[in-house]
C-alpha cells in the first residue's frame, strides 16, 4: 500500500476489515503515515470544539414574518400587464372568429321600406327604369334600320 492510499483511508474512516488490516500494517512501518494518523486524530478533537449552537433569539419570529409576507405577496405588475394582454388578444381572436356580433346588416329594415312605399318612391323608381328604356329607344330611332341590321349580323357568331 502506498502512503497516499493509506492517508486517504485514514481520512475517510473505517472500511472493510481487509483494508483496515492493510492500512494498519503500512502505518506500523511508515513514520510519515504514523504522523498523519496522529494528526488526523487531533484534527477530530479540534473539529469537535466547534459545537452546534441554536440560532439567536427572535429567529423564529423573523422567519415566520418573512413566510407570512411570502404567502400574501401580491401578483407582480408585470404579470397584471401580461394577463391584460392575454385577455385583449383572446378578445381580438374571438372577434376575428366571429364569436362576437360584428356583421353589419345592410338590408333595408321593414320600417324603412314602409316609409319608402308611403312616399311613392317605388313608383318613381319604376318610372326611372322606364325612362332609361325610352332613352335607349330614342337612340335606336335615330339609327338607320339597314345599319342596325348590319350591326346585328356582325354580332352574330
Amino acid at each position: 500500500m502506498w502512503c497516499k492510499d493509506a492517508q486517504r483511508a485514514l481520512s475517510l474512516g473505517s472500511r472493510d476489515a481487509e483494508t483496515n488490516a492493510a492500512v494498519a500494517k503500512h502505518v506500523a512501518q511508515c513514520p510519515a503515515c504514523q504522523n498523519f494518523a496522529q494528526a488526523s486524530e487531533r484534527l477530530d478533537v479540534l473539529l469537535s470544539l466547534d459545537e452546534d449552537a441554536p440560532p439567536r433569539p427572535g429567529f423564529d419570529t423573523r422567519f415566520f414574518a418573512r413566510l407570512d409576507a411570502l404567502r400574501h405577496r401580491p401578483v407582480p405588475r408585470r404579470r397584471r400587464w401580461l394577463w391584460a394582454g392575454v385577455v385583449a388578444t383572446a378578445g381580438l381572436v374571438a372577434v376575428w372568429w366571429g364569436l362576437l356580433p360584428t356583421r353589419i346588416d345592410t338590408r333595408p329594415k321593414a320600417a324603412d321600406l314602409e316609409v319608402a312605399m308611403e312616399l311613392d318612391l317605388l313608383e318613381e323608381l319604376e318610372m326611372a327604369r322606364r325612362l332609361d328604356e325610352v332613352e335607349e329607344f330614342e337612340i335606336l330611332a335615330q339609327v338607320d334600320l339597314e345599319e342596325l341590321h348590319r350591326l346585328q349580323k356582325d354580332k352574330r357568331p
Binding site: L46, L47, P55
Partner: protein
C-alpha cells in the same frame, strides 16, 4: 398485482417507492405539505432549523449572514413544494438546497469574515480556568478561520459528513458530485486543515501526501 409492477405497466415512475413515507418520515411530511398540509412544513422547520443554521454558519462564517441564509433555505423549500418528489432522503434534499444557496452566496460576494475578538468577560474566572477557556476560544477561532479558507465544496463535504452525519452517498448528492469525488474532497479538506492547524496541534504532520 404488486404496486411496483402496476406502476411500471402504467408507465409511471416508481422512484417514489424508494424514499417514500415508509423509509423516510421527513419525506412523508414533505409530501403532506406538498398536498396542502401547512402544519407539516412547520414540523419540518422545527426539526431542521438548528441543523440548517449551524450548517450555513460553518459554510459562511458570519452568523448574521448564516441565519439569513438558513431562512432563505426554508423559504425556498416552501416555494418549491409543488415540485417535490422523494427521489432521495429529505435530509439530502434540504442540504442540497442549503449547499447550493451558500455556494451561490459565496460566489456573488467576496466574503470577508468578521474577526471576532475574545470576549473580555471570559477573563473574569480563575487563572487556571481562564487559561483553558481562552485557549479553547482561540482554538475555535483558528478552526473557524481555517474552515473558511477551504474551497466551498471541500468545506461543504467535510461539514456534511463530520457535523451533519450524512453518509458519503447522501453528502455527494447534496454537494452535487460523485461519491468518489466527495471522498477526495474530504481527504483534501482534512489534509489542508491538518497543515493549517499544525501550530495548535502537538507533534509534526509535515509528511502529508
Amino acid at each position: 398485482m404488486r404496486a411496483a409492477t402496476f406502476l411500471s405497466l402504467a408507465g409511471l415512475k416508481n422512484r417514489d417507492l424508494d424514499h417514500g413515507p415508509a423509509t423516510d418520515p421527513d419525506a412523508s411530511l414533505m409530501m403532506a405539505f406538498r398536498d396542502g398540509d401547512e402544519d407539516a412544513f412547520v414540523t419540518l422547520y422545527h426539526r431542521y432549523r438548528d441543523r440548517i443554521v449551524n450548517y450555513t454558519r460553518r459554510l459562511l462564517g458570519d452568523p448574521n449572514r448564516a441565519e439569513d441564509a438558513a431562512q432563505e433555505v426554508f423559504l425556498k423549500l416552501y416555494r418549491a413544494r409543488a415540485r417535490y418528489r422523494p427521489v432521495s432522503r429529505f435530509s439530502t434534499y434540504v442540504f442540497r438546497i442549503a449547499t447550493n444557496h451558500c455556494i451561490n452566496l459565496r460566489s456573488r460576494h467576496d466574503h470577508q469574515r468578521t474577526d471576532r475578538t475574545l470576549d473580555s468577560g471570559d477573563l473574569a474566572h480563575s487563572a487556571a480556568t481562564q487559561t483553558a477557556e481562552v485557549e479553547n476560544q482561540q482554538l475555535r477561532h483558528a478552526l473557524e478561520q481555517a474552515l473558511q479558507k477551504l474551497p466551498p465544496k471541500q468545506r461543504a463535504a467535510l461539514v456534511l459528513c463530520h457535523y451533519q452525519g450524512l453518509s458519503y452517498r447522501e453528502a455527494a448528492q447534496a454537494v452535487g458530485v460523485s461519491e468518489s469525488a466527495l471522498k477526495s474532497l474530504i481527504h483534501r479538506a482534512r489534509a489542508t486543515l491538518i497543515t493549517q492547524l499544525k501550530p495548535w496541534s502537538e507533534g509534526d504532520a509535515t509528511h502529508v501526501v
